[in-house]
Symmetry: D2
Subunit: 472 residues, 4 copies
């Protein structure tokens, strides 16, 4: 997806307990979660009271072959897919991350961002701890080991209580236990399932689409602040007493999660359609057709079409083979990146007034080029409707669009942006509209929407928090 | 696409004359034509009065890297993508195919199937010719060389006149000429374009989507029976006098061609929508929603929805990372091949009465499994509408579903098939409806529809033709 | 061997008849012949009356894996290893080369150089033949097919009789026959063996070391001008009546062949030792030690030591891991190529007067740098003795040092060369001494020594032959 | 070397300070040390006050390419080559091993075996340390960090003083310092050099052959118990006061070190020749020739020949392409492993009485098969002379022949072994003879010879030490 200007989630996690082919199930679970991370993939499995790992750079089917799966024999496993952030795209940052201590081993896979990890790390180093990676999951494991003197479960509770930020962990012990942990705010999705027809085979996954693929039955979401321990005696749940406001990431609904997943209790497909319907109400416009830029805005566009009665068309065709590395075009080929991915259909679009539905605009350059291509083709008027509010603030809870400079909406008004993008009209879904159309009751008290309004539910830095508090 | 049961086209071809980066343009042209062949790819380029080739197994971006492109310097080039047939998936069958003769070289890339190649080959062997491959394009080059004594153009005319069947060739000479050839029946598409703003830079391609990507302007289709020679004096056209009925492959519209291409004078996207609208007229049914099996039936489903007023939904979500090799699941995982590719959304489908639009049914096994999965999810009633008639006869003109045994409609009535597939109702678009909705006048006299009615426009075998003639 | 300045043989060939694992035996045979060609490797095997081939760039173990061997099932096979010449190092020139004709196929592997191939090719092209490679073995197959009208054996005789130059062929037919052919002069070695304890399992190989590895028993050399046909009725021998002087390549003894091989009736190791002994008689010198540049001059050095009584030492140590590609050193690292391959031992050499035995000097640059390194280390005096006469003429019979410009001895006297190389004394073995020490009777009438005296036994070119004739 | 039965050293280390291309120099240093470890290779370099690493499985030129070298910019670097032990051949055990602590980083590369690492690890774990690998070098880094509160140099002294066993470390800090450490016994070699003509560019290496390749001048060996710190102020040396007997590994002379290296003050080549001469004195036998099994016994064989006057021959020829993975032969091919590596020359050996010089016999199977092959070829009598005493005890200081069960001499008398190996006579060099012929004065007080006599200079285990003490 080298031409994409989309923000990207850091990771997807998966865990399975009690299955004779735990690594293989993890492989399929990660396959279903591939959209959450394409940089590296890894599996850890419990084997003879120790933990065996295989990880590598690339997509799940590129990292594992049959020989490797055969070596990953065991009944408990966890898996991880990761998306690259900036230049640190290196194997040593691939997960699951494993440590050894007194004949026991622990592996962890992490989705999120621990905002106080640098403080915790400093304290640990003062007491003699040494670190091998820059991953905040390593900090968590250090805490866990330090606190083992209180017993394993108490150590889990104490260690998790020290962390601030967003974290959906799956943890594997050399004893074969699989543990799911969600931060008290509940930023990232994590769900619990049971293998169909099994006695004591459980699954943890970032999204329900992974349960579907391995034919596990969805039981429930892991609750904010919950620690779910799966072992030979079944499931137990620990809930450290931490006060925290629910802060589900609303951008998961808009962009990250797969449309066939159910997260935070709602189906993503239906939610996106609801965004589109609401958008049609908030910003109606008369046009010949409504269309998405495939594939991101498809579902909101269906909703917009449904509510407005304006025909839905696939006016641009996606080349399904794009996404792999390819040879760069020469300078003389203008806007190649746009055209190689999406080709507009002249016969559908020429002379038409069209509405495009997009889910988000980050840097704006791709949208601008696409609009230009449509105009060159002979489209008469172009209206853009975005199925969320303008992105004005960086995310500190695990999404990789972290500087204001990259967010075009942070420095331009909607009118300036309309002009910049070469549009006839531009409208963003209101924050109120977005939240209400999620279908969750009292949505104001359930979501993190910091990327839209700058109100960060968890202080991420002593200095920067002022900027946030002012906004509150 | 290892789980697909779809028939597959043999090849895509591309040629370019007079461009300083001819190989690079070919690369992009093949990239756009990748859907026509994923097994192997190759480029031949004229360099210092000789021809240099690079070809390999796999997708275009896997076969070429920058170092190889740099070695393919030259101003005239042709390219080829090929789909595997049965077991002969080997590098020596990759194209373009090159031969040398008296200090000159000739390269050819071929889409189609020459039905009398075995007879021609036998004659050539009697006169001492030897062959290195099993490809019928090698036969064509032998004829071309044999006839060179009459001059190059006359040799082209004589050689082409000896061929029977389907062939869209692009030919490259070591002198730098690029030649496009279409058989007299015009089975396969081949179009001519001109590089935007250029003096004498021309492009040949199987589909217009390749012209779009390299920013070439569409001029016209190569005509049935035409030989287009592009050289330093511009374009010349030879037309051997051969009587043949126009026989455009109607299945290109239904399945093969990319929706953003224009072939045989019609846009594919609009044609598919028209199929869907006609289907809604011929076989209306009351239901909650209409949906495709992504991505094949999308456009016909949009047409059906438009004509019927029944809402269009994407009730199954495609995993965009599927298509790569992956580890096989265990026996215990039922219907994994279906689920890894498409995941149905319970929240959209449960308790609903649905219409599915499919473009074709070959073996039927995939459809059957998908319908079963939908029922298990709780779909109330399933109606299937197919946007073409039943496939009852093998194709002998370049499509790989060549035996009757693989075509389920050849041995079952529609009612038997409905029962086999577990459907509530099943309806195929009529042949009349299909042809009329292509938008071409007098369609009966323009198309090959042998796969539907067994009337083969060109005899492909002395023995089998009787079967065909009976049907006529 | 990227730093080597040695001349290189073009190829090694192997063939086997009647063995249940013919391809695997070929693999091992080629493994033993790897020193004759490291650029590409290939195996052709007869399978169900057709020929299946696998070939690739690189060393034998890099080209083949177990999966490929499994596909090469069959009882008759031929194999080939090839050394690159200049830039034409491409897969399409890898052998065995296969052609098809009238339901039958023929594969050939070739060691040598057919000097009239361009003339034969021209004639074939006049009659309509087309060529796919620049290999002269393709010319041979064209002739073979053209003459098949006279019957297979007669065609072999007629075709071979038309060829001039050096050729040791192994040929495989789709009927499973394996044929060995040697040119009338007998330039290159080719031997016949029988699998130990077998009834009718025969082997052909360039050198006996390949017989040793597959545990075949040496029967005899294929005779100059002989065609050995191995089939279900055993071995038959055809001998076209062609008058030609025996012209064994004497350089095979000096450099190419493995020391454990027996070629032209003589063991190579013993022959090289005899060269060294003769050298000690012809050019005695008093010194502290005699040593080779590993590994080429080892055996002659042993002979020199034996005859002179001067101690043999390994004064330079070879790094056995060199030969693989490695990162190039910076400019500041002088003479890295020499040092990475061979490291001189100060403790053995400092202050000593030494004799170095080398088998040949082609461009002289490597020798020059090594001598310089020895002097810098503190060697007092350096005497070089070469176990053959000066190389003054290019080879036209299959060895790749084809231009005079590359042969330093062609433009310098021995005294000039001694000065250029920085030696105290330099002596070349006399031609008479070389021939006599091969142990073959009347050696003058058995060897090609054109690279030393310019007397070419077969005219290789109408124009250049004058130069040769003058010398005769 | 998959057919070898030789014991193997664990590692080679290299370090360089102050060179503008430190990583590249490390690459070449490791290239020269490749014989000490072929399983994995790695380089760590200081870059902007942090440490960047690249490591991978395989040989040095396979692990690094130019792009990786370019990323390893920096002026201080260390490198490591490692040999696999049993099944733990995995990337996570590749070195250099890096840790981070309070903005600083430390990388270490290790050759040897710390015998009390399990005890130290236990203590560290009690205090909360966690481990990521099973390498004892990780223990050393933990100690180093723990003791940093005393200052860096004091921490080095304290940490090293806690270690028991064999260790030659090179250490790199993010400040750019390069540190060489040798255990008090001095088991493994480690030498110090200076780049030719440089002001302040120093090199550390396991053997002097690495200095030679990078054109560094040998200064001296690092002394037992010495810590050499190389920084911007030049070289400083710390010497913790630890009493320990010198225990140079005598097996480095016999087998491990490259013959062109000087270790423990003696040239290896000359030492091996001295072993051979002594062997000729201790165990003379009349024979036709003396020969090695290439390449291990070559130098001792030269010494034997020199002292006895019996001609030296290379009676078996080594295939230089062996060592790479290759396809396994079928069951029917007897003793393939022997033959593919070494081919005996019938013409040299038939009917002869021969002396073979070998440097060591571990399991004996390879020797047995080779002797059998010689007899089948027609050798009349075979005498084996081994250039060291029988290996009866496992090594606990870094060599991988750790169980008694693998050492055939532990369970058989020399006479039994002679019979088992099928020899006419067998003689081992006496321990006294071995030590005296090293050329080191009072050798009894300088060497570890535990593998021969079971007297372990450092207790390696509380239980096993009794066995050792009894023997003293």
């Amino acid at each position: 997806m080298i031409y994409s200007e989309k923000p990207r989630e850091a990771c997807g996690v998966f865990g399975i307990y009690g299955h004779p082919e735990a690594a293989k199930m993890s492989y399929f679970g990660m396959y279903a979660l591939q959209h959450r991370g394409q940089e590296s993939a890894g599996i850890a499995v419990t084997q003879n009271k120790s933990i065996v790992t295989h990880k590598g750079m690339g997509l799940v089917p590129d990292v594992f072959d049959m020989a490797q799966m055969d070596e990953l024999e065991g009944k408990s496993a966890i898996g991880h897919v990761r998306y690259s952030t900036t230049g640190s795209s290196i194997l040593s940052n691939a997960q699951p991350f494993v440590v050894h201590h007194k004949q026991k081993s622990y592996a962890v896979a992490h989705n999120g961002n621990i905002v106080n990890s640098h403080i915790l790390k400093k304290e640990l180093e003062e007491s003699g701890s040494i670190f091998q990676t820059t991953m905040d999951s390593e900090v968590f494991l250090h805490l866990l080991i330090k606190n083992l003197k209180y017993g394993f479960e108490e150590s889990l509770v104490r260690s998790v209580s020290m962390l601030k930020g967003a974290f959906s962990f799956v943890l594997l012990t050399s004893q074969g236990e699989v543990i799911g942990i969600k931060d008290p705010n509940g930023f990232r999705p994590l769900c619990l399932g049971k293998m169909n027809g099994s006695e004591n085979q459980y699954v943890l996954a970032s999204e329900t689409c992974a349960l579907d693929l391995v034919q596990a039955e969805f039981i429930r979401s892991v609750e904010p602040g919950e620690i779910v321990i799966i072992g030979k005696d079944g499931i137990r749940s620990l809930k450290p007493k931490v006060q925290a406001k629910r802060s589900f990431c609303v951008f998961e609904f808009i962009y990250f999660a797969r449309p066939d997943s159910t997260i935070f209790g709602q189906n993503v497909y239906l939610t996106r359609k609801a965004h589109g319907r609401r958008l049609a109400q908030e910003a109606p416009v008369d046009a010949d057709l409504v269309m998405p830029f495939p594939d991101s805005g498809v579902y909101a566009a269906l909703g917009y079409s449904e509510a407005s009665g304006i025909p839905f068309e696939m006016g641009m065709i996606r080349n399904h083979y794009v996404g792999r590395t390819f040879i760069q075009p020469t300078q003389s080929m203008r806007d190649f990146g746009v055209r190689v991915k999406l080709n507009p259909i002249r016969e559908v679009l020429k002379g038409k007034e069209i509405i495009i539905i997009e889910d988000s605009i980050i840097r704006g350059t791709t949208v601008k080029t696409r609009v230009k291509a449509l105009r060159e083709l002979g489209v008469k008027r172009v209206h853009l409707r975005v199925s969320g509010p303008p992105h004005r603030f960086p995310c500190h809870y695990g999404i990789d669009f972290s500087t204001k400079g990259e967010l075009i909406a942070a420095s331009k008004t909607v009118e300036e942006l309309r002009d910049f993008l070469g549009l006839d009209t531009l409208y963003y879904l209101s924050l109120e509209g977005l939240l209400e159309s999620t279908g969750i009751k009292n949505p104001e008290s359930h979501f993190c929407k910091a990327c839209f309004d700058g109100c960060y539910p968890v202080d991420f830095d002593e200095n920067m928090s002022k900027d946030c508090l002012e906004r509150r």
